[in-house]
Amino acid sequence: MSGSFYSNSTFVAIVILALVLLLIAALMVWVLRHITSIMREKSNVPVEPSFFAKNIKPKMDQWNPTIVTLIVIGALVVSLGIYGFDYGVTEVGVQQGYAPDQPINFPHDKHAGSMGIDCQYCHTTAGKSKHASIPSANTCMNCHKGAQLRDNYGGNVSPELMKLYESVGFDPETSTYDPEAETHPIKWVRIHNLPDLAYFNHSQHVTVGKVECQTCHGPIEEMEKVAQFSTLQMGWCVNCHRQRGIDVKNNKYYEDVHKEMKANNEHYVTVAQNGGLECSKCHY
């Protein structure tokens, strides 16, 4: 996985730069050849006409210059337009693979992976609110009041963990909170950014839809540094809504839907069939 999300545009810039350089090189070659031919003319040395002048040039002279120009420009506009449109539609604002540095190098692979802590132990509100919410520092302190990770640091507290202690005003040497200490919240960098025009609710998916965290967030338990796994594009949302079924059996809210399904001998209703593709389910 590439380190930075912006490498894509850097690549584009390099390609453009290369094209410009090639163009300059071609021009220079052309100028060089022109000068050579003039030199030869001056020195009255008969020159064998080149392959181009003999075979291609006469044919080209028969073409209508206006039409040719139009065709070339048209082809350029169409191809660049298609590329631009495709880029605008599919790439702008997509941060798949975005893995910024965080103020504290929190390793999800250790916590969720090797230690097997449940996601919702820290992201407590994922099941009951719109936001999954980043845990407050006091949640970290539940364990890290005791687990001070001194083994790898020659008896000293891990420097990353030290940032947490500073944030909450905790003195690891005495294992006490300093009431006078100035506390400050940790300024995490948001990885998953939905535009404001889209409403997303975690509890709808986690509690009601019983979607696994990994379905959207990927193998978090293997990530040392979290990166955005999915595109978070509308097409990605819609695809899932078209495929996933609703568990109508075990939720009284869907009682009427369930009754109807049984009457019609249906077994499966997708989110989309239940209106899950309608605009105002997510945009308001």
């Binding site: 919240p185 009427d256 308001y284």
Partner: protein
């Protein structure tokens, strides 16, 4: 559909076919794209071909530059210590109070991530019954007012340390020894605040003076004399079958309008089981909101009000009166009042003691005490005593005051002789606890800003026996301190500063020990009820001596009478910096932002005045240099009206239309030691200019003579519950029907019998849905953004014999009604022509009937907007919603042009973070009030009512999480929640037990413009008036 078949009219412009209105009505989005405005008004930019190329080049490069921007890095900051119960993303509701009308109105504050974003009424309290007025809704913005003092100030310099402030205050108070120390506050309804004041008064031998901008001292004095009780009684409009109001705007501004509206409408909705409703007769000079709802309304000069009261009293006690309404109506009123058998109520808006004594005598004759009036559970309002305040002013003027503490009163603005008081206050040191710098505290030595009510602990007693608790719902926004604590700190008590406010303990102690209830439970409920002895003493006043005084004092005004009144949104002027209060169209005149002189059609004609002319008003020795004239149908002749609450002179950090708004009419108030009178005799007006254009919404979004309103009389209703709705249209449609049999089918019903037009829903919708404030000049261009508007229609009252057979609605629909019930405007005017004198007189303008009709997106099942959208930005949902997807919209406005209800609004600008719209959307503090669940729209997109889809989705989700079926009332719209009269019902019509499903079976229900085949999801219920048309009343 010719205009002549239109029985209803929005305003004189429409009635008299003003060319601009008629031109505009067919052209909803008339203006071209305002390129000049967007790009600045420099001369070079007037468009031509070269400019087009410039713009084009600019846009291309701007797009290219914008595309190069990096996606911004966003941060997420969790709590250090997450408070229990706080779930980011989930709203919490706290019971607390807001300070509209008087202290301690019970509300529920919706709090998201620690910031209140919406106020609703507290359903546990009889005062609010779950609803909140427009002004109350809007008051949340005062919390996020950028003009609030961020720190205390000493001699103009900011001081962060409160102990320095305290020592400065005690220094001032010490140096004042030998002179008097005054503490000026508004009426105190809080025992906690009262205790603080008492301690301060005791510690410094100070004097406490109460000052209220609006006085009810006349009612108190009258009850003192009649019953020996110095109270404003508890009027119970729900228990009255006949209500007669002499100029009391009890649904709009008088005493406790939200509660009165809720009570009033309980007895105003007839049903097949109980086809009865109260009869409401309004006798007034200006057309008030209450007057627009009356069954019968009579216009009288305000100065004669007392004489009409005496006449009514005499008629009731068997005699006859010398003042009589046209058609012997007062006699009929007297007999109806008697026939009500104790279930009658007479109220009067006058602040004149004698008038109120007569009212008391009338109510005593009618047996209203103990039935519709309770003296025991009195309203704690207006302890303002003119005599003691006048002596305070005199004392300060003499330089006898060493220090004056201004608590929350602002007398320099609203006292009739504010200029004198302001000069006088310069002779003393003012210590202020107000949140903003106002007229009275401009030159204060010390500013010790109070917390906002939403940041404070307190207990109020707005009604005797009715306690309301207040708790902070947000961490203090600024470095402020509760005035309750400040006063005790200045009385020598040690008050600990910090997050856990000292007043918290005083409040919980008071609740648990004095009131004897569990403090936690009380704070949770927000209301504590104590039983009150309603012991109604017998009437001991003298009606005859009051009548004699009235007769002696009556003088016919030479020139005009000036009636000073309050507006529903603006009230006493306290909310001067609140854009919501001003952008809400006035319920009667539909004017936004301005104040003006209202005048009757007849007087305008005889004084050669036109709408928008400027006049100079002289009254009571005071002059208002110029105010525009507004011609108001239904206003008494010889009376002009000016609203109070304008002309504030306070610094405003924002550059917007709220600066220098209107003129202050308080100096014209007639006040003396014996009382305050809001009627000024011998006023003169003089035309000084012309051509003012009001930002008036009354002719916006016109529905051009179609069948939108239905009304009938109670007798007709008794005969036929489906009166006016007999003809059902069976419109054929080209579209296939949607299948709504499964799932939800959201719908709304609006009972026009219950709707009073108060505008609470308009402001509620404005707040809930992040609707931008656009300012006066945009409203003039008919670009107001309200998703919900209330259309106010006038119609003439006509005699039965003047009308022929009549049609209502489109001419292709056969809808004939009985003779005499309806008339076309043409017939009316023709009928009036018979009486040429009356016609020239504009007599028919004096008495008009009014209907209020809230209109929002009708969520049509065959929506015309959906079929014309080229980009599918507006589509239909399986739950019957007409969805609007902003990010798809490209702004063609086709949908708006195709909407027969004219409910779609176009964003002509980006209204947020735009210095040209310098309201709360343009500063960080103001944006805290935004609802995080609703998108803030950008320029160039359409928007409209969504049926509060965010609430629907939330309700469904909560039901799914709690593993239960959705129940009626889970999903509700902001307008329905706010409505004091429960006129708006929202719900799932597929749920057979829901209130909305029952509304669909109600015979009174009809769909607006049913004949065009849009099949709306909004029902209207025919307005029933308790009138007898065959009896002549004019």
């Amino acid at each position: 559909m010719s205009n002549s078949e239109n029985k209803y009219w929005r305003g004189i412009e429409e009635l008299e076919s003003s060319p601009t209105v008629l031109g505009n009505s067919s052209n909803e989005f008339s203006d071209k794209l305002p390129m000049e405005e967007i790009l600045g008004d420099s001369e070079e930019l007037s468009s031509n071909r070269r400019d087009f190329l410039k713009f084009f080049g600019f846009s291309v490069s701007a797009v290219a530059l914008a595309a190069c921007n990096k996606a911004p890095v966003k941060y997420a900051m969790p709590y250090i210590n997450k408070p229990e119960n706080v779930t980011p993303g989930q709203a919490l509701y706290y019971a607390t109070t807001c300070g509209v009308y008087n202290e301690g109105f019970p509300i529920l504050a919706k709090v998201r991530e620690g910031r209140p974003i919406k106020l609703d009424g507290n359903p546990k309290s009889a005062l609010s019954q779950g609803s909140l007025s427009a002004a109350g809704q809007a008051s949340i913005l005062s919390l996020y007012d950028i003009n609030r003092l961020p720190n205390p100030k000493i001699e103009g310099d900011e001081e962060e340390d409160w102990s320095v402030v305290d020592s400065k205050v005690s220094e001032i108070l010490k140096s004042a020894s030998g002179k008097s120390i005054y503490l000026v506050s508004r009426t105190v309804t809080s025992p906690i605040t009262q205790e603080s004041i008492d301690k301060f008064v005791a510690a410094h031998n100070a004097k406490h003076v109460v000052y209220d901008p609006i006085s009810y001292s006349g009612i108190k004095a009258a009850n003192q004399e009649s019953f020996g009780m110095n109270v404003v009684p508890n009027y119970q409009f729900d228990k009255a079958d006949v209500i007669v109001s002499f100029g009391a705007d009890f649904l709009g501004t008088w005493i406790s309008p939200t509660r009165f509206t809720a009570d009033y409408t309980k007895n105003r909705v007839p049903s097949p089981e109980k086809p009865e409703m109260s009869k409401h007769i309004q006798i007034e000079s200006l057309l008030s909101l209450t007057g627009t709802n009356a069954d019968y309304r009579y216009t009288i000069p305000a100065s004669k009000q007392g004489r009409y009261l005496v006449s009514l009293y005499n008629m009731l006690s068997g005699g006859s009166g010398d003042a009589e309404l046209p058609g012997n109506a007062l006699k009929q009123i007297a007999s109806e009042l008697k026939a009500a058998n104790g279930k009658a109520l007479v109220v009067c808006g006058s602040n004149n003691k004698e008038d109120q004594i007569i009212v008391n005598a009338i109510n005593d004759l009618l047996g209203s005490y103990g039935s519709t009036i309770d003296l025991g559970s009195a309203m704690n309002i207006s302890d303002y005593n003119e005599a003691s305040f006048e002596s305070f002013v005199a004392d300060v003027s003499k330089g006898n005051a060493g220090a004056v503490v201004m608590m929350d009163a602002n007398p320099v603005y609203s006292y009739h002789n504010g200029a004198k008081l302001e000069l006088a206050l310069q002779k003393t040191k003012v210590i202020s606890t107000t949140m903003i710098v106002d007229e009275s505290t401009r030159n204060a030595a010390v500013h010790a800003p109070d917390n906002h009510p939403l940041e404070s602990w307190n207990v109020y007693q707005p009604m005797v026996g009715h306690y309301v608790t207040s708790q902070p719902v947000i961490t203090k926004v600024f470095n402020t301190r509760s005035a309750v604590e400040s006063l005790r700190a200045w009385s020598g008590e040690t008050v600990k500063l910090g997050e856990d406010q000292a007043s918290h303990k005083w409040v919980t102690d008071y609740i648990s020990s004095t009131l004897g209830v569990n403090a936690n439970q009380a704070l949770h409920d927000g209301v504590i009820m104590k039983s009150v002895d309603s012991g109604n003493p017998s009437f001991a006043g003298s009606a005859s001596s009051a009548a004699a005084t009235i007769a002696a004092n009556y003088k016919k005004s030479s020139g005009f009478e000036l009636a000073l009144y309050q507006k529903v949104g603006v009230l006493d002027g306290n909310s001067a910096l609140n854009p919501w209060s001003h952008e809400m169209p006035d319920p009667v005149t539909k004017v936004t932002y301005d104040n003006y002189v209202t005048i009757s059609r007849n007087d305008a004609e005889s004084n050669d005045l036109e709408q928008g002319d400027f006049v100079k008003i002289s009254a009571g020795g005071k002059v208002i240099e110029q105010l525009p004239v507004l011609i108001q149908p239904g206003q008494a002749r010889g009376v002009i009206g000016i609203a109070l609450g304008y002309g504030r002179n306070i610094p405003n950090a924002l550059q917007n239309d709220l600066i220098d708004l209107g003129k202050n009419a308080y100096p014209m108030v007639q006040a003396s030691t014996s009382g305050t009178n809001y009627l000024v005799q011998n006023a003169t007006i003089e035309k000084v200019g012309s051509g003012y254009e009001f930002a008036q919404t009354q002719t916006h979004h016109m529905i051009e003579g179609r069948d939108y309103l239905r009304e009938a009389t109670l007798d007709e209703y008794k005969e036929n519950n489906a009166v006016r709705n007999e003809h059902k249209h069976h419109a054929i449609t080209l579209w296939s029907d949607y299948d709504y049999s499964k799932g939800h089918h959201w719908a709304m019903a609006i009972d026009m019998n219950a709707c009073t037009g108060c505008g609470s829903c308009v402001v509620s919708c404005h707040i809930e849905n992040n609707v931008p404030v656009v300012g006066r000049s945009e409203v003039r261009r008919r670009r107001d953004m309200h998703w919900l508007r209330i259309d106010r229609y006038y119609s003439f009252e006509v005699d039965a014999d003047q009308t022929a057979s009549v049609r209502v609605g489109p001419s292709n629909v056969d809808q004939e009604f009985k003779k005499g019930q309806f008339s076309t405007m043409e017939n009316e005017l023709a009928g009036l022509d018979k009486n040429s004198e009356e016609d020239q007189d504009f007599g028919h303008y004096d008495t008009v009937k009014v209907v209020h009709q809230p209109v929002m997106c009708q969520h049509c099942d065959h929506a015309p907007c959906e079929t014309v959208c080229p980009v599918l930005a507006t589509t239909h949902s399986s739950e019957g919603l007409n969805q609007m997807t902003y990010n798809r919209c490209i702004g063609t406005k086709y949908c708006g042009n195709n909407c027969p209800y004219k409910v779609r609004r176009f964003n002509w600008f980006r209204y947020n973070m735009n210095s040209k719209f310098d309201y709360h959307f343009n500063n960080e503090l103001g944006r805290m009030v935004l609802n995080p669940d609703v998108t803030v729209r950008s320029r160039g997109v359409m928007e409209k009512c969504s049926f509060c889809v965010q609430n629907i989705q939330m309700a469904k989700l909560n039901a799914k999480i709690e593993n239960r079926k959705l129940t009626d009332g889970d999903a509700n719209t902001a307008c329905a929640k706010a409505c004091p009269s429960n006129a708006i019902v929202f719900g799932d019509r597929n749920d057979p037990d829901s209130r909305i499903a029952k509304m669909f079976k109600n015979d009174r229900s009809y769909k607006m413009l049913e004949e065009v085949g849009t099949d709306p999801s909004v029902l209207y219920l025919t307005k029933i008036r308790n009138r007898k048309e065959e009896v002549q009343h004019s």
